[in-house]
């Protein structure tokens, strides 16, 4: 029988062991976002974000790469479903919300600073929140890959998961969106800058691709991959050995 009390106990255990790393990573994300507010967003920004998100993913299934900790986690008196649910909440609720809050706060501060430094420029400091849902969608997809990767890889799991996540993103942007876009040659550029100012500017300047194409592509492929990876991760956890 699934027990929310036990699941909360597992979450409490994970929080107690991870809170320091969690706060450090959020602080890094916050500072990086302030710095990025002064530069034009680029592919590099995306790669760095993925790196950060995957690093945050280290907090998920944090026990499993280490033999002794894995043994302790597997033999913790909670059901596989409770352990899975705890990790799921970390990966798909707490971490994304925290990332969005850290990024939004960083951007708010960054844009406010830009406005204060140069009064002729005004950028809405709440701009990020207008498009954050697309950002969250991307985080959720990357977190799904991370979720599975953290349980799959024992050694160098961050690097391996990072490579898988980048590969997955490249696949998503370069292959699938290209197929779904009306004007295929340039559509991927739109997608990469989907959560940037350029996206809106380009939309106003020139109708390049259906505005929904990148997000629909993300949502459809994401949903398929997300469901598959979630089911896979659960059974992987269930059959995990010390």
């Amino acid at each position: 029988m699934f027990s929310f009390k036990r699941m909360a106990g597992v979450m409490k255990r994970d929080w107690a062991n991870n809170r320091k790393t969690f706060f450090i990573l959020m602080a890094v994300l916050f500072v990086v976002q302030i710095v990025f507010s002064f530069f034009t967003p680029s592919v590099l920004k995306f790669v760095l974000y993925i790196g950060l998100i995957v690093t945050i993913g280290k907090l998920v299934f944090w026990d499993y790469p280490d033999g002794n900790r894995r043994l302790a986690a597997l033999l913790l008196p909670a059901s596989n479903a409770e352990k899975y649910a705890s990790q799921w909440l970390w990966a798909f609720v707490i971490l994304p919300i925290s990332v969005v809050v850290a990024v939004a706060a960083g951007q708010f501060l960054g844009y406010t600073l830009i406005t204060l430094i140069n009064s002729s420029i005004w950028i809405n400091p709440f701009y990020f929140l207008c498009i954050s849902w697309g950002f969250v969608l991307r985080i959720l997809i990357v977190e799904t890959v991370t979720f599975a990767g953290c349980l799959l890889f024992r050694k160098s799991r961050t690097l391996k998961t990072w490579l898988v996540a980048v590969g997955y993103f490249l696949f998503l942007f370069f292959a699938l969106e290209k197929v779904l876009s009306i004007k295929s040659e340039t559509s991927w550029q739109v997608s990469i800058s989907a959560d940037t100012e350029n996206y809106l500017l380009k939309m106003n300047d020139e109708w390049i691709a259906p505005w929904w194409s990148s997000d629909v592509a993300l949502a459809i492929t994401g949903a398929v991959v997300v469901v598959f990876l979630h089911v896979w991760t659960y059974f992987r956890l269930k059959e995990e050995e010390a």
């Binding site: 107690a16 062991n17 002794n68 900790r69 597997l74 033999l75 913790l76 008196p77 010390a242």
Partner: protein, 279 residues
Amino acid sequence: MIHIKNLKFGYNRKSLVLDGIDLSLGAGAITGLLGKNGVGKTTLLKLIAGALRPDGGEVSVLGHSPEKRSVDFLSQIYLLPEEMPEMHLTIDKYMSIHAPFYPRFSEDEFRGFLAELEITDTSVSMSKLSMGNRKKVFIAFALATNARLILMDEPTNGLDIHSKSVLRKLLRTKADEDRLIIISTHQVRDLQNILDAVVILDNTKVLLNADTYAITQRLFFGIADGSENPDDVLYSAPSVAGTQIVRVNGKGEESDVDVELLFNAAFNAKQKITELFNK
């Protein structure tokens, strides 16, 4: 409490660590699990705890199939590994987080055991403790869970002489008729006086599984006096007091089990040991 039938397990398909293990162990004992390096002692403990899945055969522990890792099962067992995981928690925090998972956990006992093991400051981070002191914390926690099955892998490694003595006392205190404590160890001298039964693994099989009463009924441990029949001597080793021997106990003489001598005798005269204990 533990019923194992024709258990097979290997870390790869080519070679099995355990092949055809049959073992039944009841509650109310402290059982020593012995064997040479790499024979599969830790593997067997993990299989019993459900941390590994058998490749064949059946394992039943407390009426459960361990590999399912049901909550009811896991809350009744505790596996103390040889190496302790590093935790960035204070001892108090560790207890408050982990104790609720064990319904029979006693905080008073935990603090009492820690005090006996000379761990007085429970507000210190476990990551700052030495390996030996961290082990003491986990030993105290293991015993305070009041789990029905406690599995310990090399519990005396890293402990000082005083702590080994305290551990023996605590183990004897916690041994009751509803509980089974299995200790895998190479340091047989550290624990031999508290063992109620001995299981020796050899080459993927169980070489010996007997309680100390059955062992002393069949074997005599002592100093050679020259009157022994050489055919009855399973093992001998020189010592300061004379030549220590393990021989067949044909006359029902009383002696105390010397686990180290027993271990050597078992490997020195496998055939004889098998015959004696399978009668």
